[in-house]
Amino acid sequence: MKRIDNFTVKSVEKLTSDIYKTLLSGDTSAVTAPGQFVNIAVDGFYLRRPISVCDVEGDELTVVYRTVGGGTERLSNYLPGDTVSVVSGLGNGFNTERNISSPLLIGGGVGVPPLVLLAKALYKKGLRPKALLGFRNASDVILTDELGKYCDVYVATEDGSFGHKGFVTGLLGEAGGDYIYACGPEPMLKAILSASELPAELSFESRMACGMGACLTCTCHTTSGARRICSDGPVFEREDIIWTQR
């Protein structure tokens, strides 16, 4: 069940030079799976901005995002007490009901946030996932403490300023694991599938308008035909994926 509600901004925290964490409070009942997203209306912009749910606790919902343009910039400027309109309960999310024992959670950059709620869900089921995280450099590293509560965390940075030097796929060899959950830029997702034969589900992005399945602006090709990233996804299993230029 999807919902539209006003949420109150509780806090806005600057995590890196351009990544922010915003804590919102409101009715979070529509969030039913990790990997789902919310569509947030930002003052002065016509379309909502889709952002993954990073964490949910009671009536508090956390989003973590990079300021890449006007909308995310404006979102980062909201003050505690401000109200934002949020459409929640969007997307299929990750499937945590699988019969697996050693999940790998792989994230790159602002693909890391949804892994927090995922790690928490898997941890609650008695699993101890491994999180393999890729960032550009040490000052870009986010959410390792949060993930550390539920996972063993391994970090790679492109310049080697923190953890393993290179891409996150460089961590795959030693990680073992029997299942992959991943979220990040498409080149990273593609590299993961080339580097590993493990069964995997990957979270994708697309430009969106409604975010709820009505407008067909987020369509992608899959092995089972045209699918909406917002509502049939954003998470697709590796067998579903057809790589195209987007």
Binding site: I4, C215, S231
Partner: protein, 306 residues
């Protein structure tokens, strides 16, 4: 207060109709409200065969609006009737509007005939105005005689009322509307989207995969009003107004310009409860403008000149 309007022989509880392509088949919205409060709803544009639509990025934000270049993605008329209509029926009990597209006169007729046989459908809305498919659709909407040919062929083949949905990307929309009226159209819907382009400055390439897209949202509202105004002056068949409607007062303004019913498009995408909010606000806005019966104000702004 009376919000009923009568449109091509159908009585609508209110003039609100979510516009084609922005409301799916209704059921995507039933999480947000009981969609039976709507006057009607217009389904996604349907062609004879399955279409993926355009490749690449299909949406771009603009000041007070958006460009889309979906390109008529749909599963084809048979799938829509077999698979989508039963799901639509679960949440929407009133007659819906079937939005129809084609790449030839024969295709328009074939799709229209199939929807004509469906109890779920009250009105056939013939889209001769999609700016997002090359070679098709819009080719029939930019020339009065081509628009008349489609109108006549469809009218001959069906029993249900036929509304022609026109493109604003033309020199004289009133001439095209008049040609459709003369060819037997029961109503005119306007406007579809206005052609636009955005550039991705990082890539130094057009942002949309299709290069051009259709502009909709509040930015087009006054353009829609101008076209409704001129078609109201030229034609006597009812007009379904469309373009940029966001509030109850927009609905009333559009009706005063000449619309009998009003379609709401992009607003549903940014506020899934947009039509509900509008319907709930109508009585208070009617009161503000001293309107007892909504149908009284259709074309009211033309009083002095008509």
């Amino acid at each position: 207060m009376d919000t009923k309007v009568s449109l091509c022989g159908l009585t609508l509880d209110n003039p609100l109709i979510p516009a084609s392509g922005t409301f799916g088949y209704g059921y995507e919205y039933s999480d947000f409200y009981d969609i039976n409060i709507l006057g009607s709803l217009s389904i996604k544009g349907t062609t004879l065969n399955d279409r993926y639509g355009n490749e690449g990025i299909r949406v771009a934000e603009t000041a007070s609006g958006m460009l889309n270049s979906v390109g008529l993605q749909n599963h084809g008329v048979d799938y829509v009737i077999e698979k989508e209509f039963p799901r639509m029926r679960e949440v929407f009990k009133k007659p819906a509007v079937a939005n129809i597209s084609g790449f030839s006169v024969e295709e328009y007729v074939a799709v229209a005939e199939k929807f004509d046989a469906c109890d779920e459908i009250g009105i056939l809305e013939i889209n001769v105005s999609c700016p997002n498919v090359h070679s098709g659709g819009i080719a029939f909407g930019t020339d009065p005689s081509a628009a008349a040919t489609v109108t006549e062929a469809v009218k001959k083949a069906v029993k249900k009322p036929v509304v022609m949905k026109l493109s604003p990307n033309v020199t004289d929309i009133a001439a095209i509307a008049k040609a459709c009226e003369n060819a037997g159209a029961d109503g005119i819907c306007l406007i579809n989207t206005l052609k636009g382009v955005r550039i991705d400055m990082n890539r130094r390439r057009p942002l949309l995969g299709n290069v051009t897209g259709g502009l909709s949202g509040p930015a087009v509202f006054p353009v829609a009003l101008a076209m409704i105004w001129s078609v109201y002056k030229t034609c006597s068949i009812p007009i379904i107004g469309c373009g940029g409607v966001t509030t109850a007062s927009d609905v009333i303004e559009m009706m005063m310009a000449g619309a009998t019913a009003v379609e709401v498009g992009a607003a549903n995408l940014v506020n899934p409860a947009a039509c509900k909010d509008i319907i709930e606000a109508l009585p208070s806005v009617m009161k503000k403008y001293k309107i007892d019966r909504l149908s009284d104000i259709i074309g009211a702004a033309h009083r002095e000149d008509k």
